[in-house]
């Protein structure tokens, strides 16, 4: 559903004016986007510096602390709020006593890394397929559209589980998950790129380029790709947080990242039975996931409005359309 929405919104984005100046100016003008950008930057920093931060705390994400949980009552962390204290800033995991802070900061690496890689892959595939469909003949277009339909209707979980079973366990899981998300999530971008390509193709400057003697590839590179950048970027920044959610969902369902690699979704999945006995275990990754996705979404919105300033000026009656008539 998010996809349809994004397609709806990003698809209508017009080609922006050239030059990057106004974009940054418009982005800077949005305070919420700036705050979100700061949060995202912080999260990226945390992810990059995860071992360092855990080191400062004096913990690591894998060491078991059997002494910190109450074994007789099912392994609840000893101490209030899940064992939060000077040694364990966010407490420890039930059953194992692993340090939660170290796990969430390492989990940030996985969540952000997987989502980023998946997004890049989606952009790559989506632009490729979309361009091919938009530029190709009727047959190519139809064939690719059907392929897209199939991909849309295929549950990601089935693919993930199939792939997890087929690919040897020695293959790094995060990479595999990123590839899977990338492979099934490109349809939105490809639809936008196709639509934009079709609309651009009919523009006179493309016809002019053809008359100038350029070949198809050069026309795509010179006339189409630059114009596609804005909608693709817009869509990609909104895809990024949704990919984080997909990764978390897969891990939550048990078909994503595997232990002992910490990921937020997997932590949530482990924590979901603990909502009564150790609520902090659940709340911490939930909160982080929420903040991350929210920040990225707000930032994405900011980027979108900065790339599509028309959104704000749409409501003026009597000017917009009249200009064309008067011309």
């Amino acid at each position: 559903m998010a996809e349809a929405l994004l397609a709806e919104e990003a698809g209508t984005a017009p080609a922006p004016a050239s030059g990057a100046g106004p974009f940054w100016r418009r982005l800077r003008a949005r305070r919420a986007a700036l705050v979100a950008a700061a949060v995202v930057a912080l999260l990226v920093l945390v992810a990059l510096a995860a071992p360092l931060l855990a080191g400062i705390e004096g913990q690591d994400p894998t060491t078991y602390h059997p002494d910190l949980v109450d074994s007789a009552t099912g392994g609840v962390p000893i101490g209030s709020f899940g064992g939060i204290g000077a040694d364990h800033w966010l407490g420890v995991e039930p059953l194992t006593g692993r340090d939660l802070f170290a796990r969430v900061v390492h989990g940030a690496r996985v969540s952000l890394g997987v989502a980023l890689a998946a997004t890049l892959l989606q952009v790559l595939i989506g632009v490729g397929i979309g361009l091919a469909a938009g530029l190709g003949n009727r047959f190519v277009d139809q064939a690719l559209s059907r392929v897209t339909d199939v991909v849309v209707a295929l549950p990601v979980m089935v693919i993930a589980l199939g792939a997890l079973a087929v690919v040897p366990a020695s293959f790094p899981r995060p990479v595999l998950i990123a590839v899977i998300i990338g492979l099934v999530g490109w349809s939105g971008i490809s639809k936008i790129v196709r639509a934009q390509t079709l609309s651009l193709k009919s523009r006179d400057h493309v016809a002019a380029a053809r008359l100038s003697g350029w070949g198809s590839w050069q026309i795509a590179r010179r006339e189409l790709l630059p114009a596609l950048a804005a909608p693709v970027i817009t869509y990609a920044v909104l895809l990024f947080p949704s990919n984080i959610v997909v990764e978390a969902a897969l891990s939550f369902l048990g078909v994503g990242i595997k232990p002992p690699t910490p990921s937020w979704g997997q932590m949530l999945s482990d924590a979901d039975t603990w909502y009564q006995a150790a609520p902090t275990y659940l709340l911490i990754p939930a909160l982080l996931l929420f903040v991350t996705v929210l920040a990225l979404t707000v930032l994405g919105e900011g980027v979108r409005t900065a790339l599509d300033p028309r959104a704000e000026s749409r409501l003026r009656i009597g000017t917009g359309r009249k200009k064309e008539a008067d011309a």
């Binding site: 080609a15 004016a17 050239s18 030059g19 523009r203 006179d204 400057h205 016809a207 002019a208 380029a209 053809r210 008359l211 100038s212 003697g213 350029w214 050069q218 010179r222 006339e223 630059p226 114009a227 409501l315 003026r316 009656i317 009597g318 000017t319 359309r321 009249k322 200009k323 008539a325 008067d326 011309a327």
Partner: protein, 526 residues
Amino acid sequence: MSLVEVSDLSISFGDVRAVDGLSFSLEAGGALGVVGESGSGKSASAYALLGLHRGTGAKVGGSIQVAGVDVTAADDAELRALRGAKAAMVFQDPLSSLDPYYAVGDQIAEVYRVHHRGSRRAARARAVEVLDRVGIPDAVRRSRSRPHEFSGGMRQRALIAMALACEPQLLIADEPTTALDVTVQAQILDLLHDLRRETGMGLLLVTHDVGVAAESVDEVLVMQSGRAVERGPVGEVLVAPREPYTRALLAAVPRVTEQRISSGAKPAGDGEVLVEADGVRQVFGRGKSAQAAVDGVSLTVRRGETLGIVGESGSGKTTLGRMLVGLLEPTSGRLTRDARVQMVFQDPVSSLNPRRSIGESVADPLRASGERDEAVIRTRVRDLLTRVGLAPESYDRYPHEFSGGQRQRVGIARALAAEPELIVCDEAVSALDVTTQAQVTALLAELQRELGLALVFIAHDLAVVRQVSDRVAVMRRGRIVEEGGVDEVYGNPRDPYTKQLLAAVPALDPALATVRRAARKELAAA
């Protein structure tokens, strides 16, 4: 008291002052034409009469009295009572101006019921009545149709019917015919004329087309950059303008009666054949929905001549043009092209890539032909820019920094860069204001003279075509209905369609307009 009394009106959108210190008045039953080029503020002024700027963020100053209502001071209820009942408006684009979801009759009835207490049935009856009045055949049945089932002209009639529904004292028509073909335009203007005579309502006609104004109004107000330039009876202003701007404007308007500007080109018939089409067809779609946009056209273009192709929308002229340059392959028929061909496009916005500097765009044909030396390219592009009347420094600037006319010049420079022998101009000046239009056509003529170019000039505007062409072909529904020397076709049309077209062109001289209106009626009756 006057029907409309505007004094010192000013309208600003943000920092932009669209209208500045405008004053005018219109007596009951009078007809005022507001004429101006794009950005003159004429439409914004018309909107202000109904208080339509309210709530949009536009700042409106000065005072406006319409049918006794002080528009700037009126509260929302008073304003609503004015709108539609005392003063009604007809908009430019009849399709988007009607609600696509409801039957036309229901929409008119709704408007009627806003201002008149009465039954639904009575309102429907009134709707049928006004639809019948504006010349919708079988009005009872057609009132149940939705807008998309109407043709463009019928929709505009329906909009006018809606305006008539409450018998307003004032009709404001904002570019009512701009989106229509010339023959339909003539019918709508005639309808407005008749209605005004019949009902005695006042008319405020906003238009960019001086000819339209000449046909329809008693008085003219010429606007430029938000200010009134000249005002007076239509006969005076259009025949003997006082202000230099008005004079320039009128001078730039191409006239269908006027002989071609001499380009000094060789007479048609002896140059070598550059392009020859023989029975070319272009079919779009397949199966049942297949439609021949061009249906068996044969023509030749010779070196140095200008072939004008005129036709209304849907006549296939643009498709033909694209086939001539090779952007489209004919579905059938033979097309031989023995020359380098280029094209100048209609839309100055979409014909240049907004992300590339204009120099780069102009350099495209050079690079595509294998030129690698940057210095050579730059020099050549600067020469070309100079040649089309742009500063050579413009090389690194981007399209949005240029006006429409300048962009068309860039387009011409790009076409020239490929050293063509034939340039197809597809509605190359249609999107431009008349003054700019005149400059661009002059440039084309000049280039043709100097470079010995052949031109194919495609346009819907008969006057422009006459101005530039040696020969002219009239297209209708994918076929050429008449072809010949320009003076011959314009002076002595043989095909009835050509006659109809020519009769529909508005005349600049109000006196002549009256004569021609009579002629049109005769033609329609015949």
